[in-house]
Symmetry: C2
Subunit: 477 residues, 2 copies
């Protein structure tokens, strides 16, 4: 299937929401209409429900046939029992694709329902109506104004995400959107009775807007085709994989979620190693890896300078980094003596990690420290760290100024740099941390939420870059 | 040293803050005065600084000698160079113990300063003045109104924490206080030139208020004595250890932080295994373990029912639990059919994990599901899970009602139970999640912040209980 072949899914000219609930305006399935309106979808929007009526001033048609204009794309929330009939109607109306949000098929594990899904697939092929799903959230493509959440970013980006789970897709978008990552296309494709992971992978592989391909896969419909697509694309783009169902219990959950077969985990591991696919093991790790690929300039090597606040925190972050094969080399005496010129030795730790609370709050010399440390030839990248519990009010104020000075007025940091800001569950602190995050993100710095998360992602991304020839080592976006 | 021997440290009758800053009212060292006032310390508070003056209406004495009454305990923020003189003055005044917050000793790695610390230790022994520190935050003992943060809880609890790092001590208290954990005594003891980890461990071992002993250790002064104390106490109380400096870089950070020798990590591992000390590898893990020990009734075994919202989340949480040797057995057909009587099969996953979004929001039947699942004989404990991104406004409202009904009006849950609530960095969501946390905590439920965190802690605590004879298996508090 060529790239263009699926373009109609991502940029429909008109959309009908068939089965939209009239009686329950708070029901979560209303997200499809809310999102199209919030994103100012440029094409026509039609609502269909046998009851008729009106929602937000939009007429509700009693059937697809009642719509006089062409309908390109249907988002279905009809019950499973009405799915076949809907495909027939769509074929009659010239609809090219139906996204069945509708659940209640093979994932239920009930025999009749597996048969129903098979029939749906067969009918769609026969009638030439492509199906996304059933049992999924469909497409988020900000450029077309198509989304399954009104809270997703309206700007487009370079990450494509193929997710068998709608919830995990939404989680990932939300986890990285405040850290600056944007998406070209996201597909939640559920049971994949017609269009499956290979279709979407091939499509994103040849999509010029997609530089990084992220995958959440529960099971694969056609292993050979998937492997071929993966092999081809892995040579051209960065691929990150989160595989769900790696344990017996997880595999049973997969069967109950999308009716898929989870497969042998060792095979997945070998495949990832062979094809240089970055394998992650949680949504958080996937998020941290995307943030790193998007915003961390490529470090020349594994030597890191850690600069932050807290002696005990310094010890723990050094352990987390070195445990993962990142090196925290000792600060040489020459570098140390430069810093000591303006930094009291009591209350600061002038090693690596550098704990310079006193200097930051007292003498506002963080810029000088960063300048000196980044000039240290042995160091490949820098990571700053701050826990909210150790950020006194005065430190917080100074931090914002420092970031400003550090990154706008001075060229202090000549090496790649990231920041760990631990979040807080306390509403007041959470608000402050959030404003810090926004400040750092505005300077295109990668922001992490834990020492281990930062170390994991940096290690995974360094592994990836190290596996490439030197000349191929370019930041994907 | 007998238990009573250190009581004077934790319940002084009068305290002098020597070296309190006059010129910098926003300096972090003011936390000692702020905390004593906020905690309404019952004894006398004296302030000492050669400049004299007044702070918050309290007279500032120019020297210790100017105070006419007895002084029991001193908190020192004088410069390192003035430390010896202060000990002399304390001895003259009859002060029993000095907490030297003062830094600038062996942790700097400078020869003269190591000598200074040795002198300080020698002088304190000669004069009979005990020293906590130097380079530390000292004591938090809510019962006495002694604290190094004004934001710590005022109520006492059953966890004792010995931490070489003041920052890590503060982090732990803050991480668990909103989840219901309270402390008997916390000591940040820094360089340990006089009183060291063994003194405090022996003390907490015989302290009747301390049921769980948590340790953050960077290095040990007297290995033999420490091991003896650990062996004795491990037979009587639960001990949890976080060891800082497990890597070469971490060990260098330890030297720079408290001047300690980190030691061989394999020895620590063997020691923990042999003595049934629960070994954790981060502050978050330590926090999760404390929450589990405090609020999770002891499960009979490793079989868990996972109940929450989200199909993809179900797959990932099942993987996290099974990866750690916790079992997520399949829901038997009988149990499933009971739930199916009132739960639509489409949009819900009636396996294990049970994903019952539709049921919770539509039919308010969570109580019935919990009732049925906890009656399932194969299940030892239950864990609920919710990600903020998947909690629609209607679900949030229902959740609060459900918790209420579930735990107050019904006896639905006859098995141990915990809840995973993922936090959000978004201020608005963070506020909501925080109110959920408070709701659950008010019912004495353990609350976790990630799937992996919950699985880690439950596995560690189950390992611990499994290592005990059946008759010794009692919840520590």
């Amino acid at each position: 299937m060529s790239h263009q072949a699926l373009d109609f899914l991502f940029a429909p000219r008109s959309i009908a929401l068939v089965g939209i609930t009239i009686s329950k305006p708070d029901h979560w399935t209303r997200t499809f209409l809310d999102s199209l309106l919030k994103f100012r979808f440029k094409g026509q929007i039609y609502l269909v429900n046998p009851r008729g009526g009106e929602i937000h001033g939009l007429k509700v048609y009693k059937s697809l046939d009642d719509i006089s204009d062409e309908v390109d794309y249907v988002i279905s929330t009809v019950p499973a029992q009405a799915a076949l009939k809907l495909v027939e109607e769509c074929a009659g109306k010239g609809v090219r694709a139906v996204h069945f949000c509708t659940a209640g098929f093979s994932e239920t594990g009930e025999e009749g329902r597996e048969g129903l899904e098979a029939e749906l697939a067969e009918l769609s092929r026969r009638k030439g109506v492509r199906i996304i799903g059933p049992n999924c959230m469909g497409i988020y493509c900000p450029d077309s104004g198509l989304s399954f959440s009104k809270d997703f970013p309206k700007e487009s980006g370079s990450v494509g995400f193929i997710s068998q789970s709608g919830g995990n897709a939404a989680d990932l978008v939300r986890l990285v959107m405040w850290r600056g990552v944007r998406f070209s296309k996201v597909v939640s494709y559920g049971n994949a009775c017609d269009l499956n992971e290979s279709d979407f992978l091939e499509y994103l592989g040849s999509d010029p807007y997609t530089k990084i391909v992220a995958l959440y896969i529960e099971g694969v419909k056609d292993g050979r085709r998937f492997r071929q697509a993966l092999t081809k694309i892995a040579g051209e783009k960065v691929i990150i994989l989160l595989k769900g169902g790696t344990t017996a219990g997880g595999a049973r959950a997969v069967a109950g979620h999308t009716g898929a077969l989870a497969g042998n985990d060792a095979i997945w591991d070998a495949l990832c190693k062979q094809l240089r696919v970055i394998r992650v093991h949680s949504i958080d790790q996937l998020a941290d890896t995307l943030v790193t690929l998007s915003f961390m300039d490529i470090p020349r090597g594994r030597n890191v300078a850690l600069i932050g606040v807290g002696g005990g925190a310094s010890v723990l972050i050094a352990d987390e980094f070195e445990k993962r094969g990142l090196n925290v080399p000792p600060l040489p005496q020459t570098i140390r003596s430069y810093i000591q010129e303006f930094t009291p030795i009591a209350g600061n730790i002038l090693r690596n990690p550098i704990d310079c609370l006193e200097t930051i709050t007292e003498t506002k010399s963080l810029v000088r420290i960063l300048d000196i440390v980044s000039s240290w030839s042995e160091i490949d990248f820098l990571v700053g760290f701050l826990r909210p519990s150790q950020a006194s009010p005065s430190l917080r104020g100074v931090m914002v100024q420092m970031v400003e000075r550090m990154l706008r007025k001075s060229k202090a940091v000549s090496k790649p740099m990231g920041v760990v800001l631990e979040p807080s569950i306390l509403p007041k602190e959470a608000k402050e941390v959030f404003s810090f995050i926004q400040e750092f993100v505005s300077f295109k710095l990668p922001v992490y939420f834990s020492f281990s998360g930062a170390a994991d992602a940096l290690n995974l991304v360094l592994n990836y870059y190290e596996s490439l020839d030197n000349k191929l080592r370019t930041k994907p976006c």
